[in-house]
Symmetry: D2
Subunit: 372 residues, 4 copies
């Protein structure tokens, strides 16, 4: 029995482009998918670059004009890994052509744009996805399941961080990540902390932000200096709809930290602690354990935590970052087939950007704001 | 050569009273002190309790009237470990009698009272101490020395927490720690997080607070219920005089956490991470380490980190909580002899209470406040 | 410029078969390989199973007779993931047909068979590989490089273990892993500990073994019981040619341990500690660090540790078990092209089996034995 | 009600002498003891040293002749912390005088001497103690209780180590610890690993030793060199009377390790892991935990683990090395009063030395030996 085909066009061939291809090629070997995925056309800036990518990545066709992909009725799904500033134009074109769109985060520099993209996709009825890969970790799924099942009791407190040090060196150049529209640590990585917070605890209803610029100017890469106005550290106090309170921090000048996407969550019956630096582990404290025998236990990812078992036959082997991408792709492909809800669609991406912008506005106004 | 004597009166014989005695008796065996310490008089509520404490703790005299201690010219130093509400009256009486005063934290429920006590002590010229024992940890001293020596470069970010779970059970009774004046998680343990923050990074100049009550009423211990208005979780954004920004959290309903007095501090050249749950360790990241060889290194407390070597001959043996108290006492005794500055005097205790109250007011007003 | 093709035949489609395919398909996307890899023919027990595997795994042809693969001159490389007992016959057939052979470990139940296979491959001039994937970890490569560069000084001591608990339940059935020929914990996983020991410290010259059976009989899966004679725990004292001494333990009844492939290695100038449970980390102690600042530092896998950077753009992301397989395949393909030495060929596999058998014989004889 | 007095004589005022005094003075404040302890006489090499120790340590009398202590009928208990070579003569003199004897480990350089001391003490009916302080850790008591209660099921495997690096530097002088009689890493610290192994798993019945000298000569401290014949690393395979098998390692050249007194113990229902570097923690794996929720849990020392609660009011505060000494003293004083069995008497010390010597002989003979 042959499966229907799903033909893919890819725009952008940098790290995230490769990660998408990794997902498209490994997901079918790991998961039983409803479609055969076909790498149809890849687009890059020049013909030479596109052709090179075609060979390396295994596409059938190459183009230096991304509009070719939109115009080709054979293509069902467009992966957009081009610079952020182009996400909106490309997505709207793909949506208009009735194609499913898989867009890297952030959806667009501004929430207003993300909203326009979301509404367009919903109106056209295409399936969308934004790349929030950390949420695809089986241990985060486990955490969410445990919370939903009441294993922690009522949730009372949350503390999430995402700290790295890739902008810690003041001699590093000004990049597009420093652009006022859509830039800053909160938008770039604090957004992950926010996504995880809502993934686990449900909607945030109110925020108080604290966004600070610590490195006020950077080399512009052409011998001059350029002022930086976006935040190097973005913090927020949070109120959740479920009554819990919490905080997050996004920090890209956290010297020594490489992937500190960590959280602690406290409930009336238990607690969880997690660090992305050891993302195949989840630490669980239960007040149900016997007196004198209580403590945070280190649960190692295992076949008990689907879909880990599709990657490794036993606990302790560990999945890697790229495997998270395969899980992300599989979820999306199943959504396209109507077999599962969209795990992280444009509306979800819009939500995170709304949170980011509300925190930024709260910080500027120095007041608590409701999240609309 | 005999040393001069320093005669001690103790008020209160509970856990902290015993801890003071532990400090007074072990400090002289560990440190070369300028005085011989003599346990002169102990005061408790009843004659019987006082006499029992006299025998157990090794004092020469016992009394059920603490004013006896103040009236006795033989006594040089008064240790106050009575309930918080009595700290002010007792301290002022001792100061008036020209005695040195060693008072458990918090100095008084309100900063205004703490100020009065501080001014009285300074006017009378007696030496004072508040029990902020965590700061006596050699590893915190190491952290401060490293920062002062520039090993971390310029300090940019700070994140401190003090989370425990001793109030996590809503069935636990209302206690004096829930009293509106001086109560709450921020005052009780968030104060430690603040003390450590300033100990390491210097003065906090501005704060934004977030104090929340999660368990709105508790059993009153007499069959009824009593409303709780103090915070179960107290958070704050911080601005430091040195230009750094940061945050702290005090949380006494953090299920599973027993002594999470932790911090991370990020500088331009390095970073430190610490957890009180493993307080004989300090984790240090240095950008000066060779490429490909960088990482947080686990420094174990050792004789290189004075005064650890007075307690243990080699790294890895580890000091305990009570040893911190001995270090605290030794510092104070040296200050009384004029051989060292007061390590944590009433003014320092006042400072912490001022910070706590400013954060509480900021939270209530929902606005940033300068720390006066 | 098109690359020459390397056509692959696969025998066996279980977990390791899939892992090989994963390696063959992901290695070319991650590495710049000298061949285009083509999944030519897959063999399984029945036509149906083979056809299903063909579709799922992406091969062009399927067969239920593995000899078809040997007979087909189009096929350049044969992957053997069939049961251990068949490794020898299949390998010899492939070698005789002039094909490169990639065989899962152990090469054969007995060292004598492994020797025959090795000599055949060397005589025929084909390139071989045995799947010792843990050694492909960039952090183990880092460890070896550091040792070779003298960063630890002279090596003095080694302690390696590989402990898991997949045989801890006495109710688990007797399996082929319990067969006297080639079975037991030492052969199954202690072999990994031995491979790592020699990878890092060079040749072991002398051993004293201690192999014990703790669960003396198991269900035979057909309602009866079957005696077990192989070891559940295999230990050895080791002498290395470089003068160091050490020990290893292989243990498959280590309740709670899932992948404790750990080692510590002590040199005159430094030490390393590693755990496979967190295999993206290597812990390094250097006596060159400043006094009072020494400690084991946690080096996180990063692009400084090739080939990690081909999988992830930054430290902290982490590679997974399957990525180790891709690295293993890439090394082999380069060896086939003559661009690199064979990273772990049949002779290396023979070496490990020789070590295992010498330890087993030493244990039985209760005497130290030279490793021939 | 006044308690009877127990008058103490101390020989030796170095680190262990101070540790004994610490124990004698802090134990009564922490525990309800059956005697009042009185520091009667301290002996050191010279009158001046003894007098200085008298003042610092708080004894009533001082002497430069340790026989004075034996001759004084007022003295009930003699603490011996003099060099190992003197332990026997001093102990026998104290026993002959009918005094209780508290002797630092090792009891004597040779097991034959330890036996003589043991028999003498038993014949005379005095209570004895050897300082195996690690066993006084509440977490080790917890481990033993859990094993005894069957929480781990049947014990199957044990792995114990005691690794430090205080002899790692070959430039370090030859010391009494290098003397052929009683010296070496196995005797010095491997003995602790053996004591813990038997404390937890019961008697060892058979051993195979591997004792190696890695630094063959050392400076003699007088400009010359001296050959070293004792082991720098001592390893052993073990058989236990309960059917379990295991291993230990004592290693004093383990670069970077300061107090790696660690063990793992595997049973049919659970496992324990412990490291002295974090000795207020015990890690417990239970197969009774729910599927998908299993993992090693970090139990922090708390008032649930007596006698921790006498030192600290809550979990997380942590006791230190010196507190272990107070626990050791309290156990001994209760034994003297006949209120408890001797926790670690001369016979127990003899046992450990017998184990050490049997392992040394096994290593020399290269054969398994029964432990007599």
């Amino acid at each position: 029995m042959t499966k229907p085909k799903l033909r893919i066009g890819l725009i952008g061939t940098g790290f995230m482009g490769k990660a998408h291809v990794f997902g498209f090629t490994s997901a079918p070997r790991v998961f039983e998918l409803p479609f055969d995925l076909e790498l149809h056309t890849v687009a890059d800036i020049t013909d030479a670059a596109a052709e090179r990518a075609r060979q390396t990545l295994g596409f059938a066709h190459a183009t230096s004009d991304w509009r070719t992909i939109m115009a080709n009725p054979e293509i069902d799904l467009v992966s957009i890994t081009a610079p952020n500033a182009l996400h909106k134009e490309m997505s709207l074109a793909a949506i208009a052509a009735g194609k499913h769109v898989y867009c890297e985060k952030p959806l667009a520099p501004l929430a207003a744009d993300a909203l326009e993209m979301t509404l367009a996709a919903e109106a056209r009825g295409v399936k969308t996805q934004v790349g929030f890969n950390y949420l695809c970790n089986p241990m985060l799924g486990l955490a969410r399941d445990m919370i939903a099942a009441g294993e922690l009791g009522e949730i009372r407190g949350y503390r999430g961080i995402h700290c790295e040090d890739y902008m810690a060196d003041p001699a590093g150049n000004y990049t597009f990540r420093h652009d006022p529209a859509g830039g800053g640590a909160l938008a770039d990585i604090g957004s992950h902390a926010l996504a995880t917070a809502e993934f686990l605890c449900g909607p945030v209803t109110r925020v108080m932000g604290d966004c600070v610029t610590m490195i006020a100017e950077r080399p512009d890469g052409r011998g001059g200096r350029k002022a930086v106005t976006v935040d190097d550290v973005g913090r927020a106090f949070l109120r959740f709809a479920n009554g819990a309170t919490g905080s997050i921090e996004g920090n890209w000048i956290a010297t020594g930290r490489k992937m500190q996407h960590d959280f602690e969550i406290y409930g009336t019956k238990g607690a969880l602690a997690f660090s992305q630096e050891r993302f195949n582990e989840l630490h669980f404290f239960s007040t149900a354990d016997a007196k004198g025998r209580q403590g945070f236990r280190r649960i190692e990812a295992s076949p008990d935590h689907a879909p880990y078992g599709l990657f490794c036959v036993a606990a302790g082997h560990q999945i890697g970052f790229n495997d998270l991408k395969a899980i992300e792709v599989a979820g999306y492909i199943n959504a396209i087939a109507g077999k599962a809800p969209e795990p992280f669609n444009f509306r979800a991406g819009l939500r995170i950007q709304t949170l980011v912008e509300t925190i930024q506005r709260s910080s500027a106004a120095q007041e608590w704001l409701d999240v609309k």
